[in-house]
Amino acid sequence: MGIPDFTLDNQPKAQKKLSLISFSGDFDKLVATFTLATGAAAVGYEVNIFFTFWGLNAIKEKQGRAFVGKGFLPKLFGFFMGGLRSAPVSRLNFLGLSPKIFRYLMRKKNVATLEELVETAKVLEINMYACEMAMHILGLEKSDFIHEVKGVLGVATFLDLSEGGRTIFI
């Protein structure tokens, strides 16, 4: 399945709104997050995703294991957590074998992979935000994330952005 490589134009004004809090950082829960996000955006919703704690791993610029973060402990932690390609599944991870099996099955069954869903989220111009507090703990900066991340937020701003729509915690 190919990844769309163009931008959208003439998008109608979004009437409905979905805001997702991406907390877990697990492969399967990220698939759920990005499936909901892209599906909702495709049927006309305004979509916000607020990445916090483990969820921040999904939007790191470096998708594999890398010493990302400021300071010794954050760097070490950042390495063991890794990025999108290192995300473990929440059950039966088998030391990282299961995500590889899932990726294989998704490709074989013509279902969008996690990476394709993330690329689609960018094309659909889904609003992605990073949690300021979790970034501070993990020694991360906005430049450590993919450039599609629109901003760094706290709770109050997220509540403002999500007001009037549905909010889901994953």
């Binding site: 399945m1 134009d9 499936t35 955006a41 495709a42 049927v43 006309g44 279902v111 869903l117 659909l124």
Partner: protein, 74 residues
């Protein structure tokens, strides 16, 4: 006014909606998109969400088996 075609019969959620949306976004006003899709979620929701987004659903017709055709005008 031109007519374009997209076949999403082999796609699964959410790519059924995503591919339709992206294809529609590339069209000029007045162009028509012919979407081939299967029964169930795509048939129920592609015409519905297209209408909700301000597109004109001209026709929904059965092709064969589980496959249906939806004509959407931008």
């Amino acid at each position: 006014m031109a007519t374009y075609q997209i076949d999403i019969t082999r796609e699964h959620c959410p790519m059924t909606f995503v591919k339709t949306k992206i294809q529609l976004s590339k069209l000029q006003s007045g162009d028509v998109l012919e979407v081939l899709l299967t029964e169930g979620e795509p048939l129920e929701n592609v015409p519905k969400s297209s209408r909700e987004q301000g597109f004109n659903v001209l026709e929904v017709s059965h092709v064969k088996g589980l496959v249906h055709k939806v004509l959407i005008q931008k």
